[in-house]
Homo-oligomer: 115 residues x 2
Amino acid sequence: MKNFHPTGNCPVRDVLSRLGDKWSMLVLITLNANGTMRFSDIHKCIEDISQRMLAVTLRILETDGLVERKAYAEVPPRVEYHLTEIGQSLIPHIEALVGWALENMQVILKNRDAS
Amino acid sequence: MKNFHPTGNCPVRDVLSRLGDKWSMLVLITLNANGTMRFSDIHKCIEDISQRMLAVTLRILETDGLVERKAYAEVPPRVEYHLTEIGQSLIPHIEALVGWALENMQVILKNRDAS
C-alpha cells in the first residue's frame, strides 16, 4: 500500500500541515487580493481570526519565506506584510481549490442536506 | 479592501475549513493512491492519525459526498471506503499543492534555517 507516514522528511505532510490550514490560506489570499497590508487591516479582512492566531500564522508564513514583514521606524511604529515571490507562486493553487469549491458547492450542500 | 468575512455562505471559507486541513487531504490522497480501502488500512497508511480523528474526517468527507462508505453484511462486518467522482475531481488540485511543495521545499527549508 502506498502510505504517507510521518517518518522522514515528507514534503507532502509538511506542506499540508503548515499551509493546508484555513488561516494560512485565508491570509495568503487576503494579501494577494490587497497587496501590502498592516496587521490590523489583515485582521479586519478575515475578522473572526484571533489576534494571537493571526500573529502565529503570519510568523509561520514569514519563517517559510512566503510573506515578508517590514517594520518602519516611525512613531507609532508601522509594520507591513506582503507576499514574497514564492508566496505568490502558491496563489494559483489555492485559487484552483477555491474554483473547485465554487464549481462543486451546490452538489456538496445537497449531499450534506441529504445525510 | 477585499475581505473574506465569515458572514454569508462563503464557499472559499467553507472549502478551506472543511477540506483544507491536513487530515482530509491525506485521507483523500491515500484513497486515491490505493483505491477501495478498509478503515484499518487507511489508518495504517497515515499512521499518526488517531482512530477518532480518522473516523471524524471520513464522516465529514462522506457527508460532503467526496468519499463513499460501503458496509457489507458479513461476519465480522466489513466496511470499505472509496473516492466518489466528486472526490476524485479534487485530487488534481491537491496534487498541484503537493507538486508546489516538492518544487519549493528546499527554499522553504533554507528560509526556516535562516530565521
